[in-house]
């Protein structure tokens, strides 16, 4: 090869070496006297230990009219607890070199801690204060409420977040908690006070319905003794598990434009409801979704990005929303295609996107596409789970979704057994052209007419 006088020796593409064995770690389990279950995994070399605390405080358990209280409550746990004020607690945690995050979702609430192994004991002691002896001082709860009220307009100004809120509003019945923003609205958040937070805490948080996941290099850590000295100190009555109602959705094809005058791009979010991980077709759905929009060489970006240049990237993804134990009923996930395109390309991009879906339905996936997706999703596992935090996160997801501890390990086997036909069927069922709710956050004056001309369902416009 000669180009401008440059030469080099070329060799054929090398073949792969021998695959080295790797398996998703299998956790050990235990239970503390007060009923708190724990899972732990020793991961040699992982000096940053990850701890996840799964709490049975899903958003559906929030009292009527107090949307957002679950998120405020789990955040307030660390704003003063045990002997520490809010400021002291933050300082002690940071003295451990730890980070602590708290959030609440439809599957439950979670605290996520990361800390160097040598300071795990100290950090778990702090975490125990937060769970067992939160102060919920009125001034601190009030501060979190005001902070949240300030954050709402900032989040609404973000096109992606605004689209997600609108999609939930469109898909789900108004009476269902899931139709409304996870962290509440200005109206509901303003009603939250320390008494309500404490009442919610006392009603929902107890060790018997909580699970701790601890992953990292536990060399020299006497975990049983550490847990007895820390989380073992959290006691309460047994309580009853929270009840989460099933999810229904209206997915008749339609377009809602959230008007954001002057936007140089349109944020797309196209979605409907799908099954949860208990469904036998889940591996096929994951494969099919990856082939459709998992990466920039998937079908959507092949056209929308790499051929047309309409976007920096469009992705198809699944997000589990409801996952009861298999004998309790049917779980649900959100199936979604999202990305942003320049304003002028909005209608052409939607048109091309539908062509991609139609072509997939008509001709199916190729074996080569399926093989590449399986190879990627299966072989990427050792990389994805190299450090402790993703392992802990997946184990905690399994707990919250009522899946067995060996779910992820078996999932890789099932992916490899999934055929091209099954992956195609799952993707086509997931994204039927005429049963998708399309949210467009953009400049309605510029995009409305061209989108109406596509004839993809009624088009309505709502203010941002």
């Amino acid at each position: 090869m000669t180009e401008a006088g440059v030469t080099m020796d070329f060799y054929p593409m090398p073949a792969a070496g021998q695959v080295r064995p790797w398996a998703f770690p299998s956790p050990d389990r235990g239970t503390l006297p007060a009923g708190l279950r724990f899972l732990h995994c020793h991961r040699p070399g992982q000096q940053l230990v990850a701890v996840e605390i799964c709490l049975d405080a899903p958003l559906d358990a929030e009292p009527a009219g107090l949307d957002g209280i679950a998120a405020i409550m789990v955040r307030a746990l660390s704003q003063g607890a045990g002997p520490y004020s809010a400021e002291e607690f933050a300082a002690e945690l940071e003295r451990c070199g730890a980070t602590l995050q708290a959030g609440a979702d439809f599957l439950g609430a979670r605290l996520s801690l990361e800390v160097p192994a040598s300071r795990l004991h100290r950090a778990l002691r702090l975490l125990t204060y937060a769970l067992a002896e939160p102060a919920f001082a009125a001034t601190e709860v009030d501060r979190l409420v005001r902070n949240r009220l300030d954050a709402i307009p900032i989040e609404l100004a973000n096109p992606g977040m605004r689209a997600a809120i609108q999609l939930a509003h469109e898909l789900f019945p108004d009476a269902a908690r899931i139709s409304r923003p996870r962290q509440g609205t200005a109206e509901t958040v303003a009603r939250i006070d320390a008494a309500a937070v404490r009442a919610f805490y006392e009603a929902k948080l107890r060790p018997a319905t909580a699970t701790a996941v601890i992953v990292g290099d536990l060399t020299g850590v006497d975990l049983d003794a550490v847990l007895a000295d820390t989380l073992g100190g959290w006691t309460a009555d047994a309580g009853a598990p929270a009840l989460i109602p099933p999810v229904t959705a209206a997915d008749d094809g339609r377009v809602v434009i959230v008007d954001r005058p002057g936007s140089v791009q349109t944020q797309l979010l196209i979605g409907r409801l799908g099954p949860d991980r208990h469904d036998l077709e889940w591996p096929a759905l994951v494969l099919g979704t990856y082939c459709l929009g998992g990466t920039l060489t998937s079908r959507l970006d092949r056209v929308l990005r790499e051929e047309k240049g309409y976007t920096y990237g469009v992705r198809a993804a699944t997000q589990v929303l409801h996952s009861p134990a298999p004998d309790e009923g049917t779980g649900a996930s959100l199936l979604a295609i999202s990305g942003s395109v320049d304003t002028a390309s909005t209608s052409p991009a939607l048109d091309d996107l539908r062509t991609v879906l139609r072509t997939l339905a008509a001709g199916g996936l190729t074996d080569a596409e399926r093989d590449m997706a399986v190879q990627n999703l299966v072989l990427v596992a050792p990389l994805r789970y190299e450090t402790a935090a993703p392992v802990a996160g997946t184990l905690a997801d399994q707990v919250q979704q009522h899946l067995p501890d060996d779910y992820q390990a078996n999932f890789y086997v099932r992916l490899a057994e999934t055929s091209t036909t099954e992956a195609t069927a799952a993707a086509v069922t997931a994204f039927p052209e005429d049963r998708l709710v399309t949210i467009l956050v953009g400049d309605a004056a510029q995009i409305r007419e061209p989108v109406e001309d596509l004839g993809i369902g009624p088009v309505s416009v709502v203010p941002a």
């Binding site: 080099m8 593409m13 923003p181 609205t185 050792p382």
Partner: protein
């Protein structure tokens, strides 16, 4: 100190070996057999600071073109082959360098080396007008998505422009301007490659479950015949006074949801004790939930939603200290600003307390563990220290350097640099009322 060290084996137990091919390509290898994975990272010593007037954004646009095929790799083959092998990959462009990386299952390491070598040696065989046009559109949409279509999206660009005035090569950010992206030609891309994408202008690091002898042999086989090239354009001088000299101020009236006060400070260059001290100062001031600014503005005064102070380390110009405070409710900027000035002046006078220093060191130590733990992060840091400082081993002593800094050094750098005559201030004033009062018409909250 009462705080036990985070670990005794962590970064201190890591090692790396250095090698150089005949064409000048430097190699850094680091063995780690914990997980059957291998990270490959290539740093080219070229970034947006090397760009010339009228061609801002070229280094980043060019980075996209590196994924559009080379002599033996068709179209998107680079992505397809790596992902199909169970790997992940990407590239990024900053002021001072461009990096490319593949994280692979260990048995696919040779493929990643073959791919990187193919584009280092033969990119121009595949580069054409069609790829350029397409990726220009993609990058323009990247710019819209990340900067132009989000509130405060252009703040960083504005602060940089104020703190590094023309004609400083750090005056513009890597994303570049729309006009310059439009103006870039195929000839520009070709000459950019010839000038900068040579083996003697790159460092290749390979970290993970590797056999060093075999890995070296592969590197020699695939990269060894790529000719060394000269012709790199000399870097324009980035020299600036340590202190801006007088406060610079820009007020932006835009449709943003809340008032904001942001500032850029010129801080010491990376590679100095003073830079590590500045990192600790920034951490004490505005990193985490027990920082001075957070405690004062968010906890006590309740005049701010968030208050952050960070450090962007630079080698060829003063590092950038940036402050970002979003005002709460109807709070006016002067009120927030007075409180900030009070805190910064107090910190410059007294420095950190022993407890604050201990916390800041523990936080930065954790960040380094997080960075050097995974093979990909370690490969990137080894390249960074090899390219910017000529010594990859410095990656492994970064934590001990941070732990070696005294409170007096932190105070000294704060007194010298974190002061009103060394900052460029950017104030955001919303044009609509929605950000200054709770908007009752707002039916939707958020958080999804």
């Amino acid at each position: 100190m009462g705080n036990p060290p985070a670990n005794s084996t962590g970064t201190a137990g890591l090692t790396a070996t250095e090698h150089r091919l005949g064409n000048g390509l430097r190699l850094v290898l680091s063995e780690d057999h914990l997980t059957p994975v291998a990270a490959v990272c290539v740093w080219y010593d070229v970034g947006s600071r090397h760009e010339v007037a009228g061609r801002t954004g070229l280094a980043h646009l060019f980075e996209h073109l590196m994924f559009q095929g080379s002599a033996q790799v068709k179209g998107n083959g680079h992505f397809e082959l790596v992902q199909g092998a169970g790997g992940s990959l990407n590239g990024t462009t900053s002021f001072e360098r461009t990096n490319y990386f593949e994280s692979m299952p260990a048995h696919q390491l040779e493929l990643a080396l073959w791919l990187e070598a193919d584009r280092m040696g033969s990119l121009l065989a595949a580069l054409d007008e069609e790829s350029l046009q397409n990726q220009r559109d993609v990058v323009k949409n990247e710019r819209r998505q990340r900067y132009d279509n989000v509130p405060y999206g252009t703040a960083f660009e504005r602060l940089i422009a104020l703190a590094y005035p023309e004609p400083n090569p750090y005056h513009h950010t890597p994303i570049g301007s729309m006009a310059d992206l439009d103006a870039a030609t195929l000839a520009d891309a070709q000459s950019f490659f010839r000038a900068n994408y040579a083996p003697n202008n790159a460092v290749l690091s390979i970290v993970g479950d590797i056999d060093p002898e075999q890995t070296l042999a592969w590197a020699e086989k695939y990269f060894g015949s790529i000719p060394e090239r000269g012709g790199k354009m000399p870097l324009r001088s980035a020299e600036l006074p340590d202190i801006i000299g007088a406060q610079i101020r820009e007020v932006v009236r835009e449709e943003v949801p809340a008032r904001a006060l942001m500032a850029a400070y010129r801080l010491p260059e990376d590679g100095t004790r003073e830079c590590d001290a500045a990192d600790l100062a920034a951490t004490v001031l505005g990193n985490g939930m027990s920082s001075r600014l957070y405690n004062r503005l968010v906890r006590h005064d309740r005049t701010a939603i968030s208050a952050d102070f960070g450090l962007m380390r630079l080698v060829g110009a003063p590092s950038l200290g940036w402050m970002d405070v979003k005002a709460s409710g109807g709070t006016e900027i002067p009120q927030v600003e007075a409180a900030i000035d009070e805190e910064l002046a107090r910190f410059a006078a007294d420095g950190p307390t022993p407890e604050e220093l201990e916390r800041a060191q523990a936080q930065l130590e954790r960040e380094w563990l997080d960075r050097l733990g995974p093979v990909a992060g370690r490969a990137d840091e080894l390249c960074r220290y090899a390219v910017l400082f000529g010594d990859p081993q410095l990656a492994f002593s970064a934590v001990s350097r941070i732990l070696d800094i005294s409170a007096a050094e932190v105070q000294a750098v704060a007194a010298a640099r974190i002061r009103p005559d060394n900052r460029a201030v950017l104030v955001y004033e919303p044009t609509s009322q929605s950000g200054t009062e709770q908007d009752e018409a707002q039916q939707n909250g958020t958080g999804q």
